[in-house]
């Protein structure tokens, strides 16, 4: 049993940490999220240049053969920097689906561009009624000649606004909750009948509501076999859940550090906050919450790497724990900052906002507790 990172993973971690500490400054981030794009295309280019975008792809696809542990290393480090660039929706979700299900043509067309940072993609998997159930899909796709006709509504599509292509989950057969009958389509958002409503989320990321009205997309845009998308979709979302959990662990580690530092300097009643025992014990508790989550993160990354039988269950255990710890660490960090914790100017509140949205993304505690129990 070995918990240590490989040489390469340590180098990767170092390289991201250096980037985050030196270049990804808080005020730069704050400016970037207020732009139309919502992030920095220069930074995205850097990610590509440093090889981070290619990490999860096979060498055959032009990538670096990275596994779940590499992904964990990347996201934990990006989390510490509160990096808003859309690594998960673009690389992990869309790239993950294309690399798993794509035809040789589709892979050749899309993966090199994802790896080089030329294109942005997204995956439209949720609907207003679906909450976190991946199999709950009303959006329909009907074959007509050489095309499919898509109708439906996809909600809160991460990275939707800047996506050159969006992978849409649609139902080609079966009933609303069936796992069978789901198909994926690589949809060009400029097609007739596709309308996007773009917006910012509270965490600074961008998303879209997508309406599909009688959209005709060529049969060649089908990704994978018709009706057979569920298991690949679930696998990719599970990997993305690991990724976003790693991001949360990075964020919590950083928030604990910032808060501890703050309490060591802020004085009240003639003493630093850190000298009050009641606050000390609460900081010990947030530290332990972080440690517990980190342990499950490592376990989950290992089980996904080993393709263990209980890997899915490990994902749900992890995300459940992330939800619990994120609320605990997030709220306590703000509280211990007092008034400063709720101002837009200081970084702690922005870490808090991202940590808060992560609680729900890919399923909240209730959802994953039930999934854990059912698996």
């Amino acid at each position: 049993m070995d918990f240590s990172l490989s040489e390469e993973q340590l180098l990767l971690k170092d390289s991201i940490t250096t980037f985050v500490d030196k270049d990804y400054l808080f005020d730069v981030r704050q400016k970037n999220i207020k732009t139309e794009l919502g992030f920095s295309s220069d930074f995205w280019k850097t990610f590509a240049d440093l090889g981070w975008l290619g990490m999860p792809f096979s060498e055959a696809d032009g990538g670096y053969n990275g596994g779940p542990i590499d992904l964990m290393v990347i996201m934990e480090s990006l989390g510490r920097g509160l990096v808003v660039e859309p690594y998960i929706p673009n690389v992990v979700l869309a790239g993950g689906l294309v690399s798993r299900l794509g035809s040789e043509e589709q892979k050749k067309e899309l993966l090199p561009k994802i790896i080089s940072g030329e294109i942005q993609m997204s995956v439209a998997f949720s609907e207003p009624q679906s909450r976190f159930d991946l199999n709950d899909v009303i959006t329909s796709a009907k074959k007509e000649g050489d095309s499919y006709i898509l109708d439906g509504y996809k909600s809160v599509v991460m990275n939707g606004p800047s996506s050159n292509n969006t992978i849409v989950v649609a139902r080609t057969s079966g009933n609303q909750l069936d796992k069978e009958g789901l198909s994926l389509f690589i949809v060009d958002p400029s097609l007739k009948g596709v309308s996007l409503r773009n917006y910012s989320n509270v965490d600074g990321s961008k998303a879209s509501e997508i309406t599909l009205e009688n959209v005709s997309t060529p049969a060649s845009s089908l990704l994978g076999n018709e009706g057979d998308a569920f298991s690949a979709l679930e696998e990719v979302i599970d990997l993305a859940t690991l990724a976003i959990s790693a991001e949360a662990v990075g964020i919590m580690e950083k928030m604990n550090e910032i808060t501890l530092e703050y309490t060591k300097t802020r004085e009240q009643f003639g003493e630093t906050l850190s000298s009050f025992q009641a606050l000390q014990h609460r900081m010990v508790d947030t530290f332990m919450a972080y440690e517990q989550t980190k342990s499950l993160l490592l376990m989950c990354a290992a089980k996904l790497t080993d393709k263990s039988d209980d890997a899915k269950k490990a994902v749900s255990a992890l995300k459940y724990q992330v939800g619990i710890a994120a609320k605990h660490v997030g709220e306590e960090s703000v509280q211990l900052h007092g008034g400063m914790g709720v101002t837009d100017e200081t970084n702690i509140g922005h870490y808090f906002k991202r940590l808060t949205t992560i609680r729900a993304i890919f399923g909240n505690t209730d959802y994953h507790l039930k999934r854990y129990s059912a698996l």
Binding site: R131, F132, S155, V202, V342, E345, L369
Partner: protein, 397 residues
């Protein structure tokens, strides 16, 4: 012991309910019901309607324009206001400055300041916190130096809610530097139009502008604006903090909101059913409702004890902690209810124009509310300070 409403109480309830139904302006109601921010004008309009009826300064002694209502009547009134989703009454004049003036002020001061508060012509804000002081309120540094018939005031106040709308500010200032920091503090009323007063917005993590920095740079304040003795400000501050805390729990509003959340669970689609089919979620809702019930009756017990004489004591600290816990917990449950739809951010302008909401109608305010409500365990004496107060005053340690 008898906790039921008498015949007269029920009649009073009808009267209040009818009055609100007939007099609550439809445009303001529309904004409140749809999460569109209300303006200062809206609030002023509504408060004047209540004031004209004699129902604004509810808790004041009758001689100054109060109602003389019983505890039960006040309870009914607050509940009816909250049920109708009327704008929260701004406390700085009517609940804070007013009681200080009629308790500690001279006759002249009463005559001068109370009418403006009760008829809503003069808006107040509170100058307590300072950048360095935080929970340690008594460490405040804003200085007021006597110069003939004026004080010259210098310092910075922060977290000043609604300062951008206020005509006057009541301030704690240091008139003397002593070894015991609670001494030498005075309570001063300052006209915001005085030269040297500058207000700068603080934007909070929910994106709203509610609080401000207030810079006081050689502000000349007439000595007749001093309330109470010079150096007696700390006692007034303590009196006020206890007053503030009873209101801070916001139980009636919580009751309306939890009812609303229960309705929402029947509206929000979930798979082929609704959110109400989710037992885990409903458990949390029910637990919070029971907790709220306990807090409501705790508040009633405190009010009943107060009605038999005496100001709210350390019990108000308990109400503050429980009330704010519930506010935060409920705002979090709203966030959970929405799933992904809690994430889209709408600016205040988006809301006022009321266009392009994302997801369910009520969604836009939910996350801002959660984020904004982080403050409630921090302000008005942080919940940590409240625990210190209870330990000392109730447990005697």
């Amino acid at each position: 012991m008898n906790l039921s409403f008498s015949e007269e109480d029920l009649k009073f309830q009808d009267e209040v309910r009818s009055f609100i139904a007939e007099n609550y302006p439809a445009d303001i109601k529309n904004k409140m019901d749809n999460g569109i921010p209300v303006s200062k004008d809206d609030i002023q309009t509504w408060q004047r309607i209540l004031s004209k009826k004699g129902w604004f300064a509810v808790n004041w002694p009758e001689e100054y324009g109060g109602t003389g209502w019983s505890i039960t009547q006040k309870h009914i009134f607050q509940n009816e206001l909250a049920d109708a989703n009327t704008p929260t009454l701004v406390p700085f004049g009517v609940s804070m400055c007013g009681p200080v003036v009629y308790t500690f002020g001279t006759q002249e001061q009463k005559d001068r300041f109370l009418p403006g508060i009760i008829n809503n012509d003069v808006w107040w804000c509170q100058g307590y916190s300072e950048p360095g002081s935080g929970s340690d309120l008594a460490s405040l540094k804003t200085k007021a130096v006597k110069d003939g018939d004026h004080y010259i005031v210098n310092g910075t106040k922060t977290w000043t809610t609604m300062a951008q709308h206020a005509d006057w500010i009541f301030c704690l200032v240091r008139t003397e530097t002593t070894d015991i920091k609670q001494q030498g503090i005075s309570f001063l009323l300052i006209d915001m139009k005085t030269p040297g007063v500058e207000v700068k917005p603080i934007i909070t993590i929910d994106g709203s502008h509610e609080v401000n920095m207030v810079y006081l740079d050689n502000v000349k304040v007439p000595v007749e604006n001093l309330i109470g003795e010079e150096g007696a400000g700390w006692n007034i501050a303590k009196f006020l903090l206890a007053h503030e805390r009873t209101g801070i729990g916001g139980i009636p509003a919580l009751k309306r909101e939890i009812r609303r959340l229960r309705e929402i669970t029947s509206e929000l689609p979930l798979g082929e059913g609704f959110l109400k089919d989710d037992e885990l979620f409903m458990d949390k809702l029910n637990k919070l409702e029971i907790d709220l019930l306990a807090a409501e009756y705790s508040e009633l017990r405190t009010l009943a004890a107060m009605s038999k004489g005496g100001h709210p004591g350390p019990e108000s600290s308990i109400l503050k902690i429980k009330g704010t816990d519930l506010q935060q917990g409920l705002s979090d449950l709203f966030v959970e209810a929405l799933g992904y739809y809690a994430h889209p951010f709408m600016s205040e302008d988006d809301l006022i124009s009321n266009e392009g909401r994302i997801g369910p109608d009520f969604a836009a305010n939910v996350m801002p509310h959660y984020l904004n409500y982080r403050k409630v365990s921090i302000y008005g004496g942080s919940n940590e300070i409240q625990r210190n107060v209870i330990a000392k005053a109730v447990l005697g340690i």
